[in-house]
Symmetry: C2
Subunit: 128 residues, 2 copies
């Protein structure tokens, strides 16, 4: 199960780059940036190495979890639970916290208008 990874200049540089920036870049940004150093770099290499770094817990992917969009006809503010095993999305019976936006805006100059919370874990069906 455990794969022993050799070092690779590309992977080391990707991690270094990610650690040096606060902008939460996309794979493409990383690719363009590293291409200056590795003239023949390919996107495959970028994605493969990002995957390895994520597995090693050194990098986190900010995505939706699902590979496709999901749609909801309940437009009232509410939170979601996403099962990490089967991908099912359920509503969470927790009151919507109206104070959160204000608290998040404290101490920064962002105009916080809304927020979203997703909980992750194992759903009833998938759990023991």
């Amino acid at each position: 199960m455990e794969i022993r990874h050799k070092r690779s200049r590309q992977r080391e540089k990707i991690l270094e780059l990610l650690r040096a920036t606060k902008s939460h870049p996309s794979a493409d940004w990383i690719y363009e940036r590293l291409k200056k150093e590795f003239k023949n770099l390919s996107m495959g290499t970028v994605y493969r190495n990002l995957g390895i770094l994520i597995n090693q817990g050194l990098v986190r992917k900010i995505d939706f979890g699902s590979t496709f969009d999901r749609f909801d006809a309940d437009v009232r503010p509410h939170y979601h639970f996403i099962c990490e095993r089967c991908g099912a999305i359920s509503d969470v019976e927790m009151p919507f916290d109206e104070t959160l936006n204000r608290r998040a805006g404290r101490g920064c100059n962002f105009e916080v208008r809304s927020h979203r919370i997703e909980f992750f874990g194992i759903c009833e069906k998938c759990g023991g």
Copy 2:
């Protein structure tokens, strides 16, 4: 700016279907479901109508906001702010709420392991 929309059986059925389900379906699920009724339905129609319903505020899309994944080398739990105008992602200086998982799990049979909060609004650069 305002576009006057005619009725369309397909759009009405999509909304009806979304309202009747709690499973937060994908476009493909909707497509497969509606295909039984509209033999020649196309994905284009599904996506176009979902877009209209979203504009009308009748449906919400659960996605990441960005069309591509973003990566972060800061693996400590923290929250993100996403600018709705320029798409920039910043870290939010708000303490991570360890109690949230437990509170979300209350009253349901999910095993809540983690959570994520994204705040949306206008960032310093884009704001007046």
